[in-house]
C-alpha cells in the first residue's frame, strides 16, 4: 500500500469524522453541553444504539488490532475461544448496567470515582479510584497510541514513522474529546465501529475467496496445519494459559464499566439502552470470528517465527509481537527492513 494512499485514506476518514463530531456538537439537548454532565455524559440522553457502538469501539482497540491478531496467528483457534469467553462476560453488563445507570441518574454521578466513593461513604475511596485511574490509564492510553503508530508504520513499510502515527493519534483523540465531549467521542466511536466491522468482513471475505473458499481453507488447514484447529493446538493455548487469559478478561468487560471512565460514560450516558448489551455482543462475536477465519488462513510463517510470537504473547508483550512478526517476515521473505 502506497504512502499517499494511506494519507488520503486517513484524510478522508478524518474529514468524515470531524464532520460527525461537529454535527454531534450541534445536536440540541436540554441544558446544553456546557455543564459537566453535558460534556461527560451527554446529559444522560445518548441514543442506545450509539452507546452500544461506542462501548464496543472503546473495548476493541489496538489490543484487538495488534495483540489478538498475533495471538490468533500464533495459537490458532484457541484465540477464538478466548474472545468468545471474553465477550460472554459482557452479559454481566446486563446485570450491572441498569444499576449503574439508575444510581448514576439518581445521584448525579459523572465519574466512576464519584459512584464508588458514594457507595462506600468514603472520600478516600473516591480519591484512590481517581488516582489509580490517572496512573493506570497512562500506560493504557500509551499502548493504544503506540498501537496506531505501529500499525501505520507497518502498513506503510515505515514511510509513516511510528512517531508520526502516535502524534497523529494523540491530536485526533484530543480534538474529538475537546469538540463536544462525550457526544463527539461516541459518534466518532460509532463511525469507527462501523468501519471496523465492514473492513474486517471484507478482508475475511477476500482472503477466504482468494484461498478457494471456506471449504478449501479448512481442508488446507486440516491437512497442513491441523493443530491450528484444536486446543491446545500449537501449544500456546495450554489449558492453564487459557484459564489465565480468559478468567480476568471475562470479568474485565463488565467491571471496566465501573472503573474505567470511557465505558462508564458510554454506559451511563444512555437514557434507555435496550440494545446496549447485545449489540456490542454481536460485533464482539462477528469481529473475532471473521478475523480468526482470516488469520487461520495465514499459516505459512516459519516455525521459529511462530515460537517467538508465542513467547512474546505469553509474557504479555503483544505490541512487540507485531514487530517480531514483521521482523520474521523480513528475514524469511526478504522484505525491506526499516529503522524505527
Amino acid at each position: 500500500m502506497t504512502e499517499s494512499l494511506i494519507w488520503w485514506s486517513i484524510a478522508i476518514y478524518l474529514l468524515v469524522a470531524i464532520g460527525i463530531a461537529i454535527l454531534s456538537r450541534q445536536r440540541p439537548a436540554k441544558g446544553g453541553s456546557e455543564s459537566m454532565s453535558g460534556y461527560f455524559l451527554g446529559n444522560r440522553q445518548m441514543n442506545g444504539f450509539v452507546s452500544a457502538l461506542s462501548y464496543s469501539a472503546t473495548t476493541y482497540s489496538a489490543f484487538m488490532m495488534v495483540g489478538l491478531a498475533g495471538l490468533t496467528y500464533a495459537g490458532g483457534v484457541g484465540a477464538l475461544g478466548f474472545e468468545i469467553i471474553y465477550f460472554a462476560g459482557v452479559s454481566l453488563v446486563a446485570v450491572f448496567g441498569p444499576k449503574f445507570w439508575a444510581v448514576g441518574k439518581k445521584f448525579g454521578y459523572v465519574t466512576p470515582s464519584e459512584m464508588l466513593g458514594h457507595r462506600y461513604h468514603s472520600k478516600q475511596v473516591a480519591m484512590a479510584v481517581s488516582i489509580a485511574s490517572c496512573i493506570f490509564l497512562i500506560p493504557y492510553s500509551a499502548v493504544q497510541l503506540a498501537g496506531v503508530g505501529y500499525l501505520l508504520q507497518g502498513i506503510t513499510d515505515g514511510a509513516i514513522t511510528f512517531t508520526t502515527g502516535v502524534v497523529l493519534a494523540t491530536v485526533i483523540a484530543i480534538f474529538f474529546s475537546y469538540i463536544a465531549g462525550i457526544r463527539s467521542v461516541m459518534w466518532t466511536d460509532s463511525l469507527q465501529a462501523i468501519m471496523m466491522i465492514v473492513a474486517s468482513t471484507l478482508v475475511a471475505f477476500l482472503v477466504i475467496q482468494s484461498l478457494g473458499g471456506f471449504g478449501a481453507l479448512f481442508d488446507t488447514l486440516a491437512t497442513e496445519h491441523p493443530q491450528s484447529l484444536t486446543v491446545p493446538g500449537p501449544g500456546l493455548f495450554s489449558f492453564v494459559t487459557f484459564l489465565g487469559l480468559t478468567i480476568p478478561w471475562f470479568f474485565f468487560s463488565p467491571f471496566k464499566s465501573a472503573g474505567q471512565p470511557a465505558p462508564f460514560h458510554a454506559l451511563v450516558a444512555a437514557l434507555n439502552a435496550p440494545h446496549a448489551d447485545w449489540l456490542p455482543g454481536v460485533r464482539f462475536y462477528l469481529y473475532p470470528g471473521l478475523r480468526t477465519l482470516g488469520l487461520l488462513s495465514l499459516g505459512s510463517l516459519p516455525q521459529p517465527c511462530k515460537r517467538r510470537l508465542g513467547n512474546a504473547h505469553a509474557t504479555g508483550l503483544r505490541v512487540c509481537a507485531a514487530r517480531i512478526r514483521r521482523d520474521c517476515d523480513d528475514r524469511h521473505y526478504g522484505r525491506r527492513r526499516f529503522h524505527d
Binding site: V77, I84, I85, A88, W101, T230, L243, D277, Y285, T292
Partner: protein, 62 residues
C-alpha cells in the same frame, strides 16, 4: 424467565466453552470441531443477551 435465570445459562455456556474444546474436541482438527463449537457458543450468548435485555427498560431501576 427473570434476568437472573438467563444469566445462569450464560455461565453454563461459558463452562462448556472451557470443557468441550479441551476434551471432546481436542482431536477434531476440522471446521466442525472447536471452531464451530465456539462459533455456536457465541450465537447462544448473543441470543441469551437478547432475552436478558428484553425488559431492560421496565427493570432499569433494579
Amino acid at each position: 424467565m427473570k434476568r437472573s435465570k438467563w444469566i445462569w445459562l450464560v455461565w453454563a455456556v461459558v463452562l462448556l466453552s472451557y470443557l468441550v474444546p479441551y476434551t471432546l474436541l481436542s482431536d477434531v482438527s476440522r471446521w466442525y470441531g472447536s471452531f464451530l463449537f465456539w462459533a455456536v457458543a457465541g450465537v447462544a450468548i448473543i441470543a441469551l443477551n437478547v432475552f436478558i435485555t428484553t425488559d431492560f427498560k421496565e427493570h432499569s431501576d433494579d
